[in-house]
Amino acid sequence: MEGNGGNGGRVYVGNLDKSAKRAKQLVMGKLRMGKAVDWATAFSLWPVHLTTSCCGCEFAATWSPRFDAEQHGALPWVGARQTNMILIEGTVTKKMACAVRVTWEQMPSPKFAIAMGACAIDGGIFYNSYNIVRPWEIIPVDVYIPGCPPRPEAVARAIIELQRKIRKQRVASKWIEEGWRPDREYVKPKEDPCSWWRG
């Protein structure tokens, strides 16, 4: 039997499961493809279009021609399903918390979060408001950007920091290997952020 391989006319049929496992090992381990995964993820961090508060002004300016954050491989995209980063722009209100969580769950892993602005750190100017939640109560945050609002350069810097984190700590490839973020306990909100919605 003449085969494509020209190797004496034999057809190789192996155990698919085994081959898949080996392929995974090759990709993730020996051939240092894990690095490639991290490298690729780091340079295609696409934030989802979810504007939570007034920091959105500077968020929009970050992708404007003057600051051009697209040069770091990040491009805000409309659908949550095609993105892998969420950039929380400032305050998250109780109503918005539900939207943030739902959007976060819709995004495919490996996914990352940046929290922008003083409000996202600990409430900022609205620290004692009765209608806000801290973003870290809802989703796990990788990088915080201080400022009120942070300058666009700071946002671009945060993207670079996140890239560094992904590549140094190999976050993305480990995530694929182990199925979850090994470097942190998976953040689950203590109470359901959508409870208001279902009443």
């Binding site: 109780k94 620290y127 004692n128 408001s129 009765y130 209608n131 208001w196 919605w197």
Partner: protein, 163 residues
């Protein structure tokens, strides 16, 4: 047009209705009884005040009352546009119910919904009295009432540097 002139116009329009005048800086308010509110508002609208700028509710806890004032002004009459005239009423805190003015001024529809959730004031006959801004759990607390207290961090005051 000055506030005095506007006052005369409104006084003329409100003839026959009992009212009290409350003056502020930059506006003037006419407080009527709850029963006369709709009538007074429609007369005001006939006089040319065609939209409401602000539905202002203040909680006077010490006096046990809510003051509900519709601050109206005009778009189509350029003279009246220069003044802000309020028409309002006062209700006890225990039974906050007023007739709605949606059918007089459409522009208050969303503002009445807002007041409903923040103060728990019910607008009778409002076509669509639902929550607007708040989640139900938060709206239960009626956050803008004075008995809902938000704590502030104390400020540490120091003397300004001299020299």
């Amino acid at each position: 047009m000055s506030l005095d002139q506007a006052r005369r116009i409104v006084e003329e329009a409100l003839s026959g209705i009992e009212y009290r005048v409350d003056e502020g800086k930059g506006f003037i308010e006419f407080i009527v009884a709850k029963e006369n509110l709709v009538e007074a508002a429609s007369r005001l609208k006939k006089a040319g005040f065609d939209h409401v700028k602000s539905l202002t509710v203040v909680d006077y806890k010490a006096e046990d009352k809510f003051k509900i004032v519709y601050h109206a002004s005009s778009y189509l009459n350029e003279d009246l546009a220069k003044v802000i005239v309020g028409i309002g009423t006062e209700v006890p805190r225990s039974n906050p119910k007023v007739p709605t003015l949606v059918y007089v001024w459409r522009s208050v529809e969303f503002q009445e919904r807002e007041v409903f959730e923040f103060f728990g004031i019910e607008f009778e006959d409002h076509p669509d009295l639902r929550l607007l801004l708040l989640a139900p759990q938060v709206a239960e607390k009626k956050p803008l009432r004075k008995d809902f207290i938000v704590k502030e961090e104390p400020i540490i005051r120091t003397k300004p540097p001299t020299g």
